[in-house]
Subunit: 185 residues, 2 copies
Amino acid sequence: MSTSMRDRYHHGDLRSALIAAARDLLDEGGAGAVSLREAARRAGVSQTAPYRHFADKEALLAAVAAEGFVDLGAAMAAAAASGGPVLEGIGAAYVRFAVRQPARFRLMFGQGAAVIARHPDLLAAAKAAEERLTGAVSGRPGVDATAIRAWALVHGLASLIIDGMLPGQDPEALIATVLQPRPAL
Amino acid sequence: MSTSMRDRYHHGDLRSALIAAARDLLDEGGAGAVSLREAARRAGVSQTAPYRHFADKEALLAAVAAEGFVDLGAAMAAAAASGGPVLEGIGAAYVRFAVRQPARFRLMFGQGAAVIARHPDLLAAAKAAEERLTGAVSGRPGVDATAIRAWALVHGLASLIIDGMLPGQDPEALIATVLQPRPAL
DNA sequence: TGTACATCAGTGAACGCGCGTTCACTGATGTAC
DNA sequence: TGTACATCAGTGAACGCGCGTTCACTGATGTAC
């Protein structure tokens, strides 16, 4: 894969390589650090090659976000499979995902609904991840009050942590404190 | 103020005018739409005039964010003054602020702790607003588990609403549903 | 098995863009005497 | 009350930048015969 791939006119899997490069740029320098040109550079390809695979920059970002929702869904599914209380399991997985990949998490939720709606793959991935969380909380499909409350709680905790609003506090300790079962709010 | 201000070499209150212009740009087109040059244009001043009042672009954004935290604090103070349960009052004011000024809310929390720490006024304003919420929830200074849980809940709800993750649902209805007192989470 | 050709993933030069920022400057203001 | 001068808020030209995107193109691939 390595040497045989290099120096070839056809890349082989440029689409995946571009998504990976964009994801790395995002993790390294935030949303502002992502550009089509730099992603192309990292994939070892000319700056116009990306246009064979993505209509424009937004389409590449949408692909990265969609991949993120798939990963998030997988992380929650793994947590669900090991049983235990929903919030401490699936909810904690949600927060941990954000802590691990803060820039990606921000991209996924911060692009705006308009962008998501414009990319069917992204929309589907987002909906699937959302339903994995809310379905597990409320016990049935659809998003009821309990599900929204749980979602808001884990989403808020994740956001506050990655935006540095809870400095000096260990994420795992925060997860344990905030998500443990409680008598009342 | 209006005509007499126009056509004068000295603007009179350019600093405030630039902050207002940047705030408007933010509300109109999001973070990407804010530029020093456009803010200067809107204030009716040459593109280099802002440098008499702000060291660089980040300083202007920091001023906008600081103003936002002051406004948020004021909104929560007003809610606290009218009594009632903490979450339904102060918490709801927090969410309403975000819904009213989504781009500003994102700027305030999304710039990163490093930027906040770099600007003393902003840091102070953020801390004051934070303590108004957490202090009211926990009943004492400092940020305990109850305060963080409440903060996460309102911050998460605000974020999900403004990012379009709860489409077709009235913000006020969501506030009522999520923040009403409950027996258990 | 060999060849013609359609397809499509790549190239590289070029465009126009608005931006942040620096520079040497000039006009207005207010204060010391 | 009048004048000299320091201060500082403005100006406008210019810089270099990386970016997204378009264009006409070329090289590699694989399929039909």
